[in-house]
């Protein structure tokens, strides 16, 4: 071995070094070396340190220890550079050299199997589209009221009322005194706001009339608690004083035909409302209320308008409960703790049921729950079902999962084609990790394709989707409303989903042994087949469950839409009240003449006026008891004021006693004494028999009334609510709308004639009408929307699952090509083979449907439970999904099988 001089020298000196080491025992422990060990990657430390120490000894020998120590420090510091510190800390995720090769292979594969790739991309694309749309919707629903700057400190006061321990009202309405009294009692409350809905505006601006904009009486705190930016006027003062009006931008532009931006021109203008002699003054213009506000209005009127020094019920009454309250709590206050103190508040101000006739309980509802989690009566909030929103999110998640499973299935089913490639790559030296990287990269590329497909698709379906949802959504709107963390979570879910979907095929494909694959002995092993089958079972379970749910939801909806209500609302035109007409002593004859003339119109079957209509929440009387019983037996009835023609028009039968007659009406409200009740009301009064009820005296509103008749129970409020005890009394009012029963065929012409009659009798009013059944069915809007969305999803799930099935069947059939050939040679018929092969798939989907049924049954029973009147999900609802899934499977699979079975066996058996 040749030894170079320098090394020789070194070896000669080696002996001397040993002495040095004994002379400099600290060198091995030098502080600079600790520093080196701290920053240097562990696997490099030994080599570097050794070199440095060696140098140190040489220096110490030549120049002394001090110099050596200094030089050692210098040497160590020189190693403190990125090339050393970060060496091997970050690894490249890919061999960048192979990246181009991977991409080339991917694109060649995509192009080579166009149909297959298309199925893959479209399946995944549909899944992502569904997810994108639903996410938009869910995010929008969750964004409600968040625009309010004091969002997390605003609470709604809600009020439950109890009689004899039973809940009789669950509402947002309370007494006008609640806000001020609570604020005075509890220092945790910073401010309150009182609201009373004023219904639709019916106004005269200059010489023009407008009707239909919704208005709320609100006190001056409202605009400082909520964030409704003002274009003119100050939030704190605009609603101070009487007869003040704040308009939204759109309303102001409409009323004053105003197009400019100088809102000061509108300020101070006068608007006359209804019959009020005193005009309202415009004292503020606010921007339009955001769509995602639970509180919606076109105008605000000052609350002080409602009371005067002489007539101050709206300010300090403890029994009039038409007011809604919002509280602004001080920062850091725990609302649950505050709520817990409200028991004392009720005792103090209501003394059990002494004051208002019922036991009052008060609660706080955070603003964040107002839109999605409200089931209150007399609610003015724009509400939606939180349950439905979350279930849509879950369903969207399932769709995405199904789509990913599809991807996994389709990719692994192509294993044989890729097996040879894997073999060659391995022989060329590729290790497993590299192959896995390759296949994961492929899945990322496919997912990107799918993602772009999804973006295009969702842009296309956005509009129809918005129509179903009933909101104007757009991706940008939703993105801007999302918080950074939500976006991160969603991106995380997407990315990890894509990687996971790529992972399984990558594991399977990279596992092949080159020896087996390349010698041609490779047949698709049964390994992994079970997993693929399980995945397909899962897909079809989800699909079958969705089909079953669709059926149940649409059946329930149909049931609610078509159920016998006990009251006939079909072909009924409702004309809105003539409220600009003065109510005077001529009221009754005028209305009766009006009704009389209506019934003479051809096409009109009957007509009646009532101060409320079917589908609306009725008012309640709380202090109802039989005149012969003590007040402690108080019960609560809902009430409706009707004219004597009401029962006839709505097709209701008297079961005991008599109907109202014209003589029951009286111009003097104090003189009216007769009432008709329904059966539930009779039972609630402990009157066991309908006949027994007739002639009884019942006391409420500090007056004795005589029950003159009993009617059967009817669904005043749709099938989502329990039927109620109802009392009717005969009354005419300018606030009563007219219900006109018409012939369906000539409805259009008849309405025009009704208008003429209405205008003739009430010339100072505008004619507005709607169809009662449409109005009534808006109560089921949520269900309708839910049914439509579930429907769409069921279809999507089935489509995607079928794509997955195509993948699985093409895989299995290709595997059995030779078997089919042999069978045919031995005399099997094509139908026989189709049947034989189909059975396998049928078994899979049958299993899936059977698994799905209990799931769907459980979920749907849970859903149905919230409806007091519901369908019993019968066996048909569960047989249909099973059968339809089987048919779909048969169609999907048999096409492929038939193609293979039809092939001449000579062709398939020729090659070996």
């Amino acid at each position: 071995m040749e030894v170079y001089p320098s090394v020789k020298v070194r070896k000669l000196v080696a002996g001397a070094f040993q002495d040095i080491m004994i002379k400099h025992p600290t060198s091995n422990n030098h502080r600079s070396l600790r520093f080196l060990e701290w920053f240097c990657p562990p696997h490099l430390v030994e080599g570097i340190e050794g070199d440095l120490v060696e140098e140190y000894y040489a220096d110490a020998e030549a120049f002394g220890e001090a110099v050596a120590s200094r030089r050692l420090w210098l040497g160590v510091l020189r190693f403190f550079k990125p090339g050393i510190i970060f060496r091997n800390r970050f690894r490249h995720p890919f061999h960048t050299i192979m990246l181009r090769n991977y991409l080339t292979t991917t694109f060649r594969n995509v192009v080579k199997h166009k149909v297959f790739s298309a199925i893959n991309v479209i399946g995944l694309g549909i899944g992502i589209t569904a997810c994108l749309l639903i996410l938009q919707f869910v995010m929008y629903e969750l964004s409600y009221d968040k625009f309010n700057e004091k969002f997390d400190r605003i609470y709604r006061v809600t009020n439950d009322r109890f009689q004899q321990g039973k809940l009789i009202q669950h509402g947002t309405i309370t007494y006008p005194t609640i806000g001020p009294a609570m604020t005075a009692d509890y220092p945790e409350i910073e401010s309150y706001s009182r609201l009373m809905p004023a219904g639709d505006l019916n106004v005269k601006v200059g010489d023009r009339f407008f009707r239909g904009e919704s208005c709320i009486f609100a006190d001056d705190h409202l605009l400082t608690i909520f964030t409704f930016p003002m274009l003119a006027g100050s939030p704190a003062d605009a609603l101070k004083g009487r007869y003040r009006l704040v308009l939204t931008e759109t309303t102001a532009r409409k009323y004053f035909q105003f197009t400019g931006d100088d809102w000061s021109q509108i300020m101070g203008k006068h608007i006359y409302w209804g019959l009020d002699a005193e005009p309202y003054t415009v004292t503020g213009i606010c921007k339009d209320v955001p769509e995602n506000s639970h509180l919606q209005f076109d105008a605000l009127a000052s609350y002080e308008t409602l009371y005067t020094p002489e007539n101050h019920g709206a300010d300090d009454n403890w029994t009039w409960s038409d007011m809604r309250h919002y509280l602004l709590l001080k920062p850091g206050v725990d609302y649950k703790a505050l709520e817990a103190k409200f028991g004392g508040f009720s005792d103090r101000h209501f003394q059990g049921d002494k004051v208002s006739g019922s036991v009052e309980k008060f609660f706080l509802q955070p603003l964040s729950r107002a839109h999605l989690y409200s089931d209150y009566e007399y609610d003015i909030a724009k509400v939606a079902s939180g349950k439905a929103v979350w279930s849509m999110l879950i369903v969207a998640g399932f769709i995405l999962l199904i789509a990913w499973i599809n991807y996994i299935n389709l990719t692994t089913s192509r294993a044989l084609e890729r097996a040879r490639e894997v073999g060659v790559r391995k022989v060329m030296g590729a290790i497993r990790v590299e192959l896995m990287r390759q296949f994961i990269l492929e899945s990322v590329v496919i997912s990107l394709f799918a993602f772009f497909t999804a973006v295009l698709l969702s842009a296309l379906i956005q509009k129809p989707f918005n129509d179903i949802i009933g909101a104007t959504l757009s991706p940008m709107k939703v993105l801007s409303a999302m918080s950074g963390s939500t976006i991160l979570i969603l991106a995380g879910v997407m990315i990890s989903g894509i990687l996971l979907a790529g992972f399984y095929p990558a594991v399977v494909l990279s596992s092949y042994q080159p020896v087996v694959v390349l010698t041609g002995k490779f047949t698709r092993s049964g390994r992994g087949g079970l997993i693929r089958k399980a995945l397909v079972v899962f897909q079809f379970t989800a699909s079958a469950a969705l089909i079953a749910s669709t059926l149940v939801v649409s059946r329930q909806l149909k049931f609610m839409n078509e159920a016998a209500l006990g009251i006939d609302i079909a072909n009924t035109v409702v004309v809105q009240s003539p409220e600009r007409t003065t109510a005077d002593s001529t009221l009754i004859p005028r209305f009766q003449a009006y009704e009389q003339e209506l019934t003479t119109v051809p096409g009109v079957l009957n007509a009646t006026t009532s101060n409320n209509i079917p589908g609306a929440r009725l008012g309640r009387a709380f202090n109802v008891h039989l005149a012969s019983m003590p007040e402690s037996s108080n019960v609560t009835f809902s009430f409706i004021g009707v004219d004597y023609n009401f029962l006839n028009t709505y097709g209701m039968k008297i079961v005991a006693g008599r109907n109202f007659e014209a003589t029951d009406h009286n111009a003097d409200w104090e003189q009216i004494r007769s009432v008709i009740i329904n059966r539930r009301a009779a039972r609630l009064l402990n009157l066991k028999d309908d006949e027994e009820a007739v002639g009884q005296h019942v006391n409420f509103w500090e007056r004795d009334w005589t029950i003159i008749g009993v009617v059967p129970d009817f669904h005043q409020q749709g099938l989502k609510r329990e039927m109620e005890p109802i009392v009717m009394f005969p009354v005419y009012s300018t606030y009563a709308s007219t219900s006109v029963k018409v012939k369906k065929e000539t409805m259009k012409e008849t309405i025009a004639k009704i208008e003429t009659v209405f205008k003739k009798h009430f010339p100072e009013n505008s004619f507005d009408y709607f169809l009662l059944d449409e109005y009534y069915n808006t109560q089921y809007r949520d269900e309708d929307r839910f049914a439509k969305v579930v429907n769409i999803f069921a279809v999507l799930a089935v489509v995607i699952s079928c794509l997955g099935l195509i993948g699985l069947s093409s895989y299995t059939i290709a595997q059995r090509t030779k078997e089919i050939g042999i069978r045919k040679v031995l005399g099997a018929s094509t139908p026989g083979i189709v049947a034989l092969l189909s059975v396998d798939f049928m078994r899979i989907t049958l299993l899936a449907s059977l698994l799905a049924l209990p799931l769907a049954w459980f979920a749907m029973n849970l859903w149905l439970e919230s409806y007091p009147y519901r369908i019993a999900p019968g066996w048909a609802l569960f047989v249909v999904p099973v059968v339809s899934i089987l048919i779909i499977t048969a169609i999907t699979v048999s096409f492929q099988i038939m193609r293979t079975a039809a092939v001449n066996p000579a062709k398939t058996l020729k090659y070996e």
Partner: protein, 120 residues
């Protein structure tokens, strides 16, 4: 074999810096004794050039990344305080790289006018 293929691809694209070439050559010269300090003193002696230890180390690691040399831990010695040396050896790729470079140099030399060459 796969690794080698990859390296050939690199060689076709990558060029060595002057210092890298120097260090690579030194590793080849020192054969089994090529470690940080030895290379530093070898350069000092043969080329008369002072270079610091850390620069040599970083270059060695870079060459290793490029597959031109490989390293293993050698025996521990007392003068190193019981620490083992990281011994570098030239790979086949490294040798062929050196050879290529030498050949291309010689090839280029041919084109320098003979007159000057002769006068040297």
């Amino acid at each position: 074999m796969y690794i080698c293929l990859a390296n050939i691809i690199i060689m076709a694209r990558e060029f060595l810096g002057e210092f890298e070439e120097l260090v690579l050559t030194m590793v080849a010269i020192l054969k089994d004794e090529a470690y940080g300090n030895a290379i530093v003193s070898e350069i000092r002696q043969r080329v008369g050039r002072d270079c610091n230890l850390s620069a040599v180390h970083v270059t060695l690691y870079r060459l290793e990344d490029k597959g031109l040399i490989k390293s293993s831990m050698g025996g521990a010695t007392n003068e190193r305080g019981g620490r083992r040396k990281r011994i570098f050896t030239v790979t086949n790729a490294g040798f062929s790289m050196l050879k290529d470079m030498k050949e291309s140099r010689m090839e280029l030399w041919k084109y320098i006018p003979q007159l000057k060459f002769g006068s040297l």
